[in-house]
Amino acid sequence: MHNLSTVIKFELIRTLKKPSFWISIFAIPVLIGVIGGIVAFAQISGNQTQAELNKKPFSFSVQDETGYIPDQLLIKIGATRITDKQQGIKSVTDGKIDAFFYYPKDVTTKTIEIYNKNDGLLSNDKYSVAAKELLISSATEVIGSKEIVLITKGNIATSQKNFENGKEVNLIGSMIAPAAALVIFYAIIVMLGNQMLASTTEEKENRVTEMLLTSLYSKTLIVGKIIALVLLGFIQMAAILIPVAIGYIFARGMLNIPDISNFTSIIVFDFWPIFIGAGLLISGFLLFTGLLVGIGAAAPTAKDANSFFGVVILMMFIPFYFFQVFMTPSTSPIVLFLSYFPLTSPVTLMIRNIFGTVSISEALIGLAIVSVCGVVAINLAVRIFRYGTLEYSKRLSLKTVFKSKKAKNLKNNQKI
């Protein structure tokens, strides 16, 4: 395409030179970092203070109606057993002891009563913790096996292997790659949507279209702008991910980042799910890009164009209301409609692809519909831009795009 690289360079460099671009990238991570830092600092300080307070020994008495707490354990921890509840409470109120724990006969239906001197919000917790631990330790001794106690608590792990047609199936692993396609699709549209919408309004608002279109074809300009936008999207993602990657490699322990080496090893790379996911990602991107650029070109100002952004985003979120329906194979009319209606098809099929509930034939039909609509949308956007931007302050009518002779013959004039 004639002058394509010039357009891409110009669009890319002028955006990279804008401080607002970098502010928009780093504002949220920096804000999250700052808030996270404050929270972490407060938590560390709080934990340290609490740990220091918890280390401080305290005196207490126990009245045990359950009969589980043995004397030797009470002696070991320096507690005394009493039989009068009121006496225990009075000892606390008189300041003779720090706490008194009353265990009713049936602790499963009645609560353990704890009476203690006030040590403040953070420190008061240590009394209830101690009361519970004392009973758990006593019960464990009665059972005689720590293992059985853990089992009854449900502290057990399982490992599962699924088989299909004699082969082991890694369900979670096979969902990761198709899910990545959906995440990338959303990230691109949400991050770049507004820029796509505003990409041509600048030319329109600045009355620069006529001069531009004598040096390049409108399709070159649109394609150049889209490529520049995609590159900017990659730069945005890289700017966010590179510091995270550096942090992961060099300071994973310090920053408390979870180890993902096991996670990456379980990803399953099957051809069809990846092909369908990637195909829908590309064709869906084309479709929504064409739609947003077209709206931007038809609207007189960026402000007018922005009012349509919400509608487009809504179309992307509608399939999520049917998330559970997509988890099982279904041929219900609503599933078929959402799968084949161009604006809901990419997200619907991508979700069904994640759960493996879409057949290859269904996916290919949907992919074909979205691809054709994507190409049509891009060409329509070019057409709208070509005529919409020459209308300058007016809103472009569909009649102008579809019915006028100038539009009818546009195709002949669009040699690249």
């Binding site: 110009f10 009355r207 006529e210 279109l213 390049l216 100038k406 009818k408």
Partner: protein, 309 residues
Amino acid sequence: MTGKKAPLVSIDHFRMDFGKTTVIKDLSFSIEAGEIFGFLGSNGSGKTTTIRALLGLYEPTAGTLLINGKPFDPRTSGRKLGYLPEERGLYKKEPVIDVMCYFGQLKGMTKSAAKKWSMEYLTRVELADKAKTRLDKLSGGQQQKVQLGVTIMNDPELLILDEPTKGFDPVNRHLLMDIIDEQNKKGAGVIMITHQMEEVERLCNRAILLKDGKAEAYGTIDSIKDSFGGKRIILRYSGTIPARPRLFDIKKQESAYAELIPKKDVSPQRILRELVNTDGLEIITYDIQRPSLDEIFVSIYGTEEAKHA
């Protein structure tokens, strides 16, 4: 093939419909290299539409519009075109030098050549210190200078100036005239779409006047003047001018001044001979003049329309 060089611009039986409305009915004219051509007409007469069709922005309903014998192509003829549209502007939030380099590169210049040319031009128009300033930080007049610079980048063979003086201050109007003159001397053909008839008379070799989608007049400035109203006789006199309705009409008459319009096929010389021999009339001075383009414009489009133009 005759080997004869094609005209710089050739428009042949051009027709343009927008839906049911016909803007241009049947328009034909040509412009040679090195010529300054006036493209005249009232508002809505189809001047801008014709230029947009010539530049491939609109597809004509019928007819051919060629530059150097070929339809306009941004990849070839676009490189040697200087176009100042009526609706004009540049990327306002970008630095001057970046915008100029961008347009230079789109016209086929290398980045370094575009930068060098831009700096020379900015120095000439005393804006070199504003090269890195955003366009919207410049005054309106300074922005116009940048716009003109972008228009003439890469030595255009064809300059199309649509209402070039619209919104220009007197300084920039002067700069524009210098640039037109300069580019023309370098061999560029110039199409001036304007309502400023005095500029057309001063600069243009030939012109076309559009009315109702057709050429109302087309040719050299002199031939247009001849075909519209011909000549008129300006008299300073004493006495009484006799009525000679078969020879002339009196367009204007004051105490010692009169403007006579000769009837068709009556020469000014015959009228003067007749008047010299008239008793009671003494001619002090006389002058034979053609009507101005401004007058022709008003006579074609009517007073009201001309006012709006």
